[in-house]
């Protein structure tokens, strides 16, 4: 079974600054995807970024980028130029080829953006 661990229950960042959210996972699978989802108070889960395990290049989506360390099973999210609208709960999630399409989520990190 896969496990996803987010060791930072809460983080805060000053507006326009950079923040990094941590995520580690455990799996015996070699083919998988990793995701970061954002969940604002509206509860709507929004996909922020995804990384395919077989790709060495780190994924980037505008101000969001990841640091994927496959050997260390680490998958951190960096938010640059933080904006007030980035405030939300962020979940790291794992999807393996043997998981029958079951996303395994971490427990989340609550991000506060300070004006």
């Amino acid at each position: 079974a896969q496990t996803v661990t987010q060791s930072q229950p809460e983080m805060s960042v000053q507006e326009a600054e950079t923040v990094t959210l941590s995520c580690t996972y455990d799996t015996s699978e070699s083919d998988y995807y990793l995701f970061w989802y954002k969940q604002p108070p509206s509860r709507q889960m929004i996909l922020v970024i995804r990384q395919e395990a077989y790709k060495q290049q780190n994924a980037t989506e505008n101000r969001f980028s990841v640091n994927f360390q496959k050997a260390a099973k680490s998958f951190s999210l960096k938010i640059s130029d933080s904006q007030l609208g980035d405030a939300a709960m962020y979940f790291c999630a794992f999807l393996g080829s043997g998981s029958a399409r079951q996303l395994t989520f971490g427990s989340g990190t609550q991000l506060t953006v300070l004006p």
């Binding site: 229950p9 509860r43 709507q44 999630a93």
Partner: protein, 116 residues
């Protein structure tokens, strides 16, 4: 394009009462998921449908929970009878069925259930 629709958004019931949640996935999405999200936790899969077939219901507590997706489109999740511990957010998601195991899941806004 409309997203995943769920209703109601909020529901408050007394324990031992029945409750039902409804989900309409994105048009054309074959796969539908129901997740349970407890406060301060990530979502956990309850059941996954491919068209009208429940292909993974291993984590659905079948003594009190049931689900259906009769025509392979919208779905209903039911709890009968509800217990205090069922208070949570129930999320629905949908994805297109592709040959690759990655099917990006699109989530609805969820139903927040409070059992008194």
């Amino acid at each position: 394009e409309a997203g995943v629709v769920q209703s109601p958004r909020y529901k408050i019931i007394e324990k031992k009462q029945p409750v039902a949640f409804w989900c309409n996935p994105i048009s054309g999405h074959n796969t539908l998921y129901w997740y349970l999200q407890n406060l301060g936790q990530g979502p956990e899969l309850l059941i996954r449908y491919e068209n009208e077939e429940a292909v993974d219901d291993s984590q659905l507590p079948k003594d009190r929970f049931s689900a259906e997706r009769l025509k392979g489109v919208d779905s209903t999740l039911k709890i009968q009878p509800a217990e205090l511990g069922d208070s949570a957010v129930y999320l629905c998601a949908s994805s297109p069925l592709t040959s690759r195991f990655l099917d990006e899941q699109f989530f609805g806004p969820g139903t927040r259930l409070t059992v008194l």
